[in-house]
Symmetry: C2
Subunit: 441 residues, 2 copies
C-alpha cells in the first residue's frame, strides 16, 4: 500500500471552520475517515478532525475514476482532502465538500480493536488498551476539550487574583505528610518517594509569593478499586497568605462558577455530544455551608446509619443523603483528629478544626482549611497525630522565616471533570489512567 | 512572644498598588520586614510583599509608645500594617505609610541562615537549603514572576493556535525511549519508571487531538554536574499533526517572540531588579537556520577543534563558536544516527534527518523534528538504533490507528529561564531543584 507524502500540502481549515459563507472556495481538510457509505455511483465519506466532521461526496463519472478508487480506504485511516465547498442543506453545517484530490497519509487495518461506530461501546478496559484510537470517539474528544477549557478558566481566575504559578518537586526525600502509601524508589544512593501532594511546598511558598497555585500530577500508592480513585492524580493546589478558610470559600466559588460558565458558553457542542447541554448548570454563589456536626445529625436522623461524632462520613452515608444534599456545598469544621496535622484547630474549641471539604452531592471534590503557621503549635499537632517532628525538620525550619498566616485548598481535576461530564468513572477523564492494575499504555 | 491573630483583618492593597492617588487613605498592607532603620525617635521599616515594598515611618511621640515598641521585631518577621498613606517625595513610589496599627503574625529569629541584605549573597547551596527564605530576595521573586508570565504567554499562543493541553502519565511501564537513565521503582507488583519525556504519548495524542501541548515535569537519572542539568525538568512538549518541522519553526518562533515581548512589556520591574532591562531583546523572526553540516564546517574552520561529520557537537565547540553564532538560531538536518528513532530520515538522503535543535548562542534550548508516522519505517528505525521493537509493542500498535504525519518539539523551561534572566545556573530558576546530590528541601 503506497502512502501519500505530506510534502507542501497543508490543511487550510478545520472542519468546524467550514461554514456556508465559504461556499465555492477550495479548501484543504485533513483528519480521519469516520464513516464511508457506498450507494452505487455515489460515495459519502464522513471526514472527522479534532474539531468536528464534514461530508465528502464523490460522484462516479463526475470525478476521475482514480480518485473514486483511491477514496476506498478503511475507517480511521488518516487522509487529507482538497475540494470545493458546496451547499448541502440536509447537513447540519449546510455544506459538504466535492473533492478534487485525496491524500492517504496512513492506512488503518480493516479490523480495528474497538467499535468506533458509536452504536455500541467497547468495554472500558479494551478502550483504555487502545486509548489513542478510543480518544477519537466524539464523546472523548468532548471530555478533553472541556478539560482544556477548564484548565484555561481556572488559570484565568487565579491570574486575575494575583496568584503565581509554581512548580513543586514530585521527587521528595522523606515520606512525610503521612496518611497515604507512597511509591518509593532509589534516587542515586538515597531513598526517595513520589510526592502525594504539593501541600508542604505550597505552604512554604506563601513565604515569598503569598499566593501560589500549581496544576500538576501527584501520586498515591493506594490499592483502591473504586470509580473515583486513581494512582496518578492531576490536582489544583492553591495556597494563600494572610487569609483564612473563609477567603478560600470565596475564591473557590469564583473559580467554579467562572469555569462552569465558560464551559457552558464555549463548549456548547461538547456538552451536546455528551447529552448534557440541558442539565448543565452553573451554581449560584455562595454555596451552602454545613458543619460536620450538621452532617452527622443528618445521617443519624435521615438514614438507617449511625455515626458517632468524630468518625469519618462514608461514601455510603453521603449517597443515602443524596436527596438532602444536592449540588455544591461545603462541609466545614471537621473534628481536628480527622484532619492532617497542618490544619488549624479552632481557637474556641480545639477539638474542632478550621477545615472544609467541597462536595457535589455525595462526591468529595476538594478539601482544605486554615493552616497552622506557628512552629510550636505545628510541633504539638504533629505529636498529637503520632508523627515524629524530627522527620519534618526541613519543613519546620521554614516556619522560622516569618511564615504568614495562610489557608488553601486541594482540588482533584479528574473528579471534577467526572462530575461535570457525567461519566461513570474517573478513568474516562484521564488520558492514560494509572490504577493498581493498569500501567500501560 | 505573643503573636497577633489574623482575625477579620485583611490586607486591602499590595505594596505595588500604593500610588500617590491614594494619599490620605487608610490602607492595610502585609508582608515581611525587609529592613529596619532606627534614627533615635524615628524608625523606618521597609515592608516587602510579593509585589514590591513600602516604607513605614514611625515617629516617637506622634504614635502610641506601645506601637513604637511593638514595631521592633526581627527582619523577615511576618507583619501587617494599618496606616494612612502619606506623600514622601524621596521614595521611588512617592508615598509612605504612617501606621496606626501593627500586627505581628510570626517572628523570625534574630539570626537568619541567609544574608538577606542583598549586599552579599550566601552561596547557592546554603541558599537552596533555606529556599523558602532565599526566594524572598527580590531577584528570586523577579525570576519566578518572569516564569509566571512566560508560562502564561506560551499557553496563550498555543491556545490561539488551537492546541489542546494534555496530561500524559509520568509513571510508565517500560523503559522505552532509550538513551537516558531512568528512575525505576515498584508499582505494586510490577516494575515501573519515571517518564523521561512525553515524547511517545504526545505523538500518540496527535491521533485524536491533532495539536497537543503539555507543560510538565520529566525525570532523568543522569549523574551530570553541569550548570544546565537537573534531574527533574519542567518542559514544554508540543506535537502537531499534518505538518513538518518547517511549521514547528514558525510556531516556536511565534511562541518565543510573543513570550519575550510580553516579558519585556509586563515584567519591567523584574527585568530592572535583575539589571537586564537594557539588554533584554526580543529576537526577529525568522530565526537563522544553519544545517548541522554548516556547524561542523564552522567548528573545523574557525576553531582549533576538529569534528568528523556524524559526531555530536560538544558544548566546548559551541562556546568557541560563540562570536559567530549570536542570538537564537536553528541547527537543522542532523545525522540520522545522532537522533532518536522517531525522527524522520530525509527522503533524499536517509543519512540526514528532518531534525533540529534550537540554540541561543552556545546553549541548546529545544530539539525536535518531523516524526516517522509509518509503522514499517518506525520498526526499521528502531532496529537501526539497536532497540527491540517488541518492547515498543503498545506504542507501535497506535501506528495502526491512522497515525497522521506529525512533527514536534521539546523545550526546556528551566534552560530558557536561565538564559533570559542571565543567571549562572539552572538551579536558580527552579524552586526546589533536584540534582544527583540534592533531594531536599
Amino acid at each position: 500500500m503506497q502512502l501519500d507524502k505530506l510534502g507542501d500540502w497543508r490543511k487550510t481549515h478545520f472542519t468546524a471552520d467550514l461554514t456556508p459563507d465559504l461556499i465555492g472556495q477550495t479548501v484543504n481538510v485533513a483528519g480521519w475517515i469516520k464513516r464511508i457509505r457506498n450507494l452505487g455511483a455515489l460515495r459519502f465519506i464522513i471526514l472527522q478532525d479534532c474539531t468536528g466532521e464534514i461530508q465528502i461526496t464523490l460522484k462516479k463519472g463526475k470525478i476521475a475514476d482514480s480518485l473514486f478508487e483511491k477514496s476506498e480506504v478503511p475507517h480511521q485511516s488518516s487522509i487529507g482532502v482538497t475540494g470545493v465547498l458546496k451547499e448541502f442543506k440536509q447537513a447540519k453545517k449546510g455544506v459538504e465538500i466535492a473533492p478534487t484530490e485525496i491524500k492517504v497519509f496512513n492506512h488503518a487495518p480493516e479490523q480495528l480493536p474497538l467499535d468506533m461506530t458509536e452504536k455500541t461501546m467497547s468495554d472500558l478496559d479494551t478502550r483504555l488498551d487502545h486509548r489513542a484510537l478510543d480518544l477519537r470517539l466524539p464523546r472523548n474528544l468532548a471530555i478533553f476539550r472541556i478539560q482544556n477549557q477548564l484548565l484555561h478558566s481556572i488559570r484565568n481566575v487565579l491570574n486575575r487574583n494575583e496568584f503565581i504559578e509554581v512548580i513543586t518537586p514530585k521527587i521528595i526525600g522523606t515520606a512525610t505528610e503521612g496518611g497515604t502509601e507512597l511509591f518509593k524508589f532509589k534516587y542515586f544512593d538515597k531513598d526517595a518517594y513520589l510526592s502525594q501532594s504539593a501541600q508542604l511546598y505550597k505552604e512554604q511558598l506563601t513565604i515569598p509569593f503569598e499566593r501560589v497555585f500549581e496544576l500538576a500530577s501527584c501520586y498515591r500508592a493506594e490499592k483502591s478499586f473504586t470509580n473515583r480513585h486513581i494512582c496518578e492524580i492531576y490536582t489544583l493546589d492553591i495556597e494563600m497568605a494572610f487569609v483564612t478558610m473563609e477567603d478560600i470559600f470565596k475564591l473557590m466559588e469564583e473559580i467554579l462558577t467562572v469555569t462552569l460558565r465558560d464551559i457552558k458558553n464555549r463548549c456548547l457542542e461538547d456538552l451536546e455530544i455528551l447529552g448534557i447541554q440541558e442539565s448543565f448548570n452553573v451554581p449560584r454563589k455562595p454555596f451552602k455551608k454545613r458543619t460536620y456536626s450538621d452532617i452527622v445529625k443528618l445521617v443519624n436522623n435521615k438514614t438507617d446509619m449511625n455515626i458517632e461524632w468524630g468518625e469519618d462520613i462514608s461514601t455510603e452515608a453521603y449517597r443515602k443523603l443524596d436527596e438532602f444534599l444536592p449540588g455544591y456545598y461545603w462541609i466545614t469544621h471537621w473534628p481536628t483528629k480527622a484532619k492532617p496535622f497542618y490544619i488549624r484547630p479552632s481557637e474556641e474549641d480545639p477539638k474542632i478544626s478550621e477545615s472544609f471539604d467541597l462536595q457535589k452531592g455525595w462526591l468529595e471534590l476538594a478539601s482544605g482549611g486554615t493552616r497552622v503557621h506557628e512552629k510550636s503549635l505545628l510541633i504539638k499537632r504533629l505529636k498529637e497525630q503520632g508523627l515524629d517532628p524530627s522527620s519534618f525538620e526541613s519543613h519546620l525550619q521554614t516556619f522560622d522565616y516569618g511564615m504568614p498566616p495562610h489557608a488553601g485548598i486541594g482540588f482533584g481535576i479528574g473528579r471534577f471533570l467526572t462530575s461535570i461530564t457525567g461519566v461513570d468513572q474517573i478513568k474516562e477523564t484521564v488520558l492514560y489512567p494509572r490504577t493498581p492494575d493498569r500501567l500501560t499504555p
